[in-house]
Amino acid sequence: MLVADPRTAAAWRRFRQEFADAGPERRREMLRERANQSRTTDLHMIGRAGLGHVGGDMSVLDILTTLFFGVLRVDPEKPDWADRDRLVLSKGHTAGALYATLAASGFFAEAELETFAGPLSALNGHPNRVKVPGVETNTGPLGHGLPVSVGMAVAAKLSSSSRHVYVVLGDGELQEGSNWEAAMTAGHRRLDNLTAIVDRNRLQQGARTEETNTLDPLDDKFRAFGWDVLEIDGHDHLSLYDAFTAARGERPTCVIANTTKGRGVSFMEDRVEWHHKVPSAEQIVTAAAELAR
């Protein structure tokens, strides 16, 4: 099990405080910069390891950054704190994005990222809760995160805890039927402490989602299962922040976050081959320059 990095955790705390005190424009800028730093970290990790799921990482990083740097009640130095909010990354193939975010928050030392996918590393191609603090459940096979999150939300109710459960789903992932079984349970049980975020980048591994197995109208599907639905720009940090912290009704919330796979790197954006292609050293330099703008 990796351990917290106190200095980075302290920096993360300062960021959270400054964020809480800041006005909207400053907040937007803070999260934008932070997310792009994680994007660059992630690209280097993938380049070093020679594997990873770069497209989905770039897609989901604004969501993860907004959660960890603006929303989640967690403590990197007490990853097991019982009443912490829970974040489940159901699209576990984008572990790189989660690792970059957890390291930047101080859950473990950033130097560990250099071991990503290497022999005996804790940082596997898919996240493992036994080895990595901040990872709430093991994912990798798609369609597992939502049922587990429903269990976590039910547990919070049973123990009268105010903790909130957030789960990030891929849109392709929603083709797995297990999601709809869980969606039904969450709606039936009126789990107002559960927020599912769909990273709606409209691409999956081999093709466009709508060409493979149509999901639209996705909002109606969730509504029909008893959920409140918000549809937002998944790269607009303030919209994400508002959606994650909005006053809740008596139903679970589904945030359909419209995103772009490969976001932030011009030659990757909305291109299916970047699902798991590995960028060359040169491409990483180009990408990092774009992200630093």
Partner: protein, 318 residues
């Protein structure tokens, strides 16, 4: 030191895809069903040539196997292709009820099995597939060792008219079967020997041959059986090995709990004069992070490990 095994290696998925396309040209009933895995199942060319006969249901393995069963029950010959961990694990009940129990002639193609997805971790390793599927009545379990055997197994499966699971390796292997075609239910003797028998499947076959060659240099004569049908098992070949050699080593890129080793052991213990065995494989453990090659070494599945096990058995006076 002359290595018996060629150094050029092949991805069995290539042979798989080529043979499937050849079959599809001959027979309109051949269709492919997949789970957002056109690329990873090597079906890109198939899709180009037969766009209507490639049914990609998206990321939905239970649906995929059910759809395959429906196609089979309507006269088609579906090759249902997905990464082996998800095809077998996710859709296990569909495989049992819709395919095996219903006797629907589906060819289930478990792509990239074993630890082919090394660094992607245990969720993506398919080491339980042989144990799970071997337990299902009426389902044939086939593990070709190299491209030639993959081709003949694909051709056989297309005409078998029964439920089949075909484990199609991604980890590159040398050609080892020569001109011996796949024969359903029969182990092939790739090298004869009189001291110990190594029973291997898939990726382990070339390693077993290498081990036998090295053992010979140390004066131990090792027989190598390519057990490409795991279920039903060639029990006669095991019995002959027991009568003619003094011990059996099994080697599989899978868990020994219920896989090839357990299948062979079940035959061995029913004999009046059982021989000692060593089961090489993974023993109820999730793998650490690492490449496939690293993990095969980690779990003691190199030619050197097989050789050691064989020599160890040859020198035990059991």
């Amino acid at each position: 030191m002359s290595a018996p095994v060629a150094t050029e290696t092949f991805d069995n998925r290539v042979a798989f895809a080529e043979e499937l396309i050849a079959l599809a040209r001959e027979d309109e009933r051949i269709v492919a069903v997949c789970n957002d895995s056109v690329g990873s199942s090597n079906l890109v060319q198939f899709q180009k040539e037969f766009p209507d006969r490639l049914i990609n249901v998206g990321i939905a393995e239970q649906d995929m196997v059910g759809v395959g069963a429906g196609l089979a029950l309507s006269g088609y010959v579906p090759f249902v292709c997905g990464a082996s961990p998800f095809l077998t694990g996710r859709a296990l009940e569909q495989i049992k009820a819709d395919v095996a129990y219903s006797q629907s002639p589906v060819v289930l193609c478990g792509m990239s099995p074993g630890m082919a997805y090394g660094e992607l971790g245990p969720t993506h390793h398919s080491i339980e597939d042989l144990s799970w599927l071997r337990a299902i009545a009426g389902l044939d379990v086939v593990v070709p060792a190299d491209p030639a055997e993959t081709r003949s197994a694909v051709r056989w499966a297309a005409h078998a008219a029964r439920p089949v699971f075909l484990r199609v390796g991604r980890f590159k292997v040398p050609a080892v079967t020569g001109d011996r075609p796949f024969t359903f239910g029969a182990a092939t003797t790739l090298r004869d020997g009189s001291d110990v028998t190594v029973v291997a499947a898939g990726t382990m076959v070339s390693r077993a041959l290498q081990a036998a060659e090295e053992a010979a240099e140390q004066g131990v004569s090792v027989r190598v059986l390519n057990m490409s049908t795991i279920a039903p098992l060639d029990e006669d070949a095991i019995r002959r090995a027991m009568a003619e050699t003094r011990g059996i080593v099994t080697a599989e890129e899978a868990t020994t709990t219920g896989g090839l080793g357990a299948a062979v052991a079940a035959v061995v213990v029913t004999e009046r004069a059982p021989v000692p065995m060593r089961l090489l494989g993974i023993h109820r453990e999730f793998a650490p992070t690492g490449t496939t090659a690293f993990l095969l070494e980690h779990f003691g599945l190199t030619a050197g490990d097989i050789r050691q096990a064989a020599i160890g058995l040859a020198r035990t006076d059991a």
